[in-house]
Symmetry: C2
Subunit: 248 residues, 2 copies
Amino acid sequence: MISDTLQISSHECDSCPIRHRAVCARCEADELEVLEQIKYYRSYEAGQTIVWSGDRMDFVASVVSGIATLSQAMEDGRTQMVGLLLPSDFVGRPGRDQAAYDVVATTDLVMCCFRRKPFEEMMSKTPHIAERLLEMTLDELDAAREWMLVLGRKTAREKIASLLAIIARRDATLRQNKLNGPLVFDLPLTREAMADYLGLTLETVSRQISALKRDGVIVLEGKRHVTVPDLGRLLEEAGDDADGGMLV
Amino acid sequence: MISDTLQISSHECDSCPIRHRAVCARCEADELEVLEQIKYYRSYEAGQTIVWSGDRMDFVASVVSGIATLSQAMEDGRTQMVGLLLPSDFVGRPGRDQAAYDVVATTDLVMCCFRRKPFEEMMSKTPHIAERLLEMTLDELDAAREWMLVLGRKTAREKIASLLAIIARRDATLRQNKLNGPLVFDLPLTREAMADYLGLTLETVSRQISALKRDGVIVLEGKRHVTVPDLGRLLEEAGDDADGGMLV
DNA sequence: CGTCTTTTTGATCCGCATCAAAAGGAGTGG
DNA sequence: CCACTCCTTTTGATGCGGATCAAAAAGACG
């Protein structure tokens, strides 16, 4: 199976699908021109490891399309996913030359890469990039902390419901759908990846999904295609306040 | 019990104990002068809640001395600590006016505060602050991800060992001690706070500390005073690679 | 149709939560 | 100095949720 994700319709930033959300979101036309000089695209097939933790990494990048995961491994093989990278998310850390995590393409993936050194130089010159990167990093920190509550205090059923809610909402906002009707989406993760995300085993994930299905919280067609008839109900199952937060 | 933490020896940034590590670390003399105009100190007693999640928060701050915690609560009362704030750590988020977490002083605490608006203005003018804040935020994100591995995949015993190792190392680097002899420190957290940090119950924390003591991994005098005879041994118990990472 | 991977389902076990109570320690007042 | 209360910590007994081990079922693909 050969991926054909290399076919980007255009290599110009103007028509880039993540133009308004990525690290370059705030750049002016002249700044984009400089970025276009140093950027290059790379694509990966589903399942490919992009970098191994500890490897030298001399680029940073934005996810253009597809999904990747960040995970950490213990010596005995236990692993925990610590980041889920969706289109527009940023990979790599300016100022660091060793990867801190394993980065794996979950689906076919296209990234917009910059060699690290030129990017760092550019960052120090154009505050728009550093500004946007700070904002994105703060958002990621919030997401990581939300996730810590899930990992530390939620039951298996609540964990699954939380993950489904996150995916359902991200998918809806990506397509700019509204959140009050039924939500329909495809799971981008295998049961194993979900287990890795939630600190569970894949058997427990499978059981809890079956239970949520049995209880009518979700409807499944096949293994991956999910319908959420009532997001409020799902949020209740996740242990979240269904009325507060994001919905209002 | 009245705290006397208000007595700062001097209010000048030059002699500030966190001068070289806080958000102002990279500031030049002229930039510090501006900061001195808008800064003010506040102190809190151990146990005091500094802000409640959801409250309006119109300042940002650096911890000068003492320890504070960030935590998140579920509706039914379950809570998870999501941040441990030590001297030089930053509190609050530029651009956001509602606190996202409960902030609680664990010990008597002094903070160096800036009203949010002037600080934001200053940030956009002086890249040194934004630069340093980005670096600090990236470090916090790394710490949060490390913590996610602890919460998601480690056993109770490993969790306790991990926390003790973190505190022991931070304490040693703060005092600029070396890491190869025995490490001695006081636990800044109650058993309950440790449980809250690690996603455990306080009973389990107590049992695992007793077990580590019984096995000679740590030595306790009283409830809070800890000696770690061999950090490598503690790191093994934490499930970490004793040779890799921070030690080298 | 057969092989390989992913997912589901079943049976059993163990780690940690829960409920309960005793044991320290610190501060207060007689 | 002791008796008292209040809070933190330890220890004990029991039960449950999720891990583990095992195998069947369902897709995916050649």
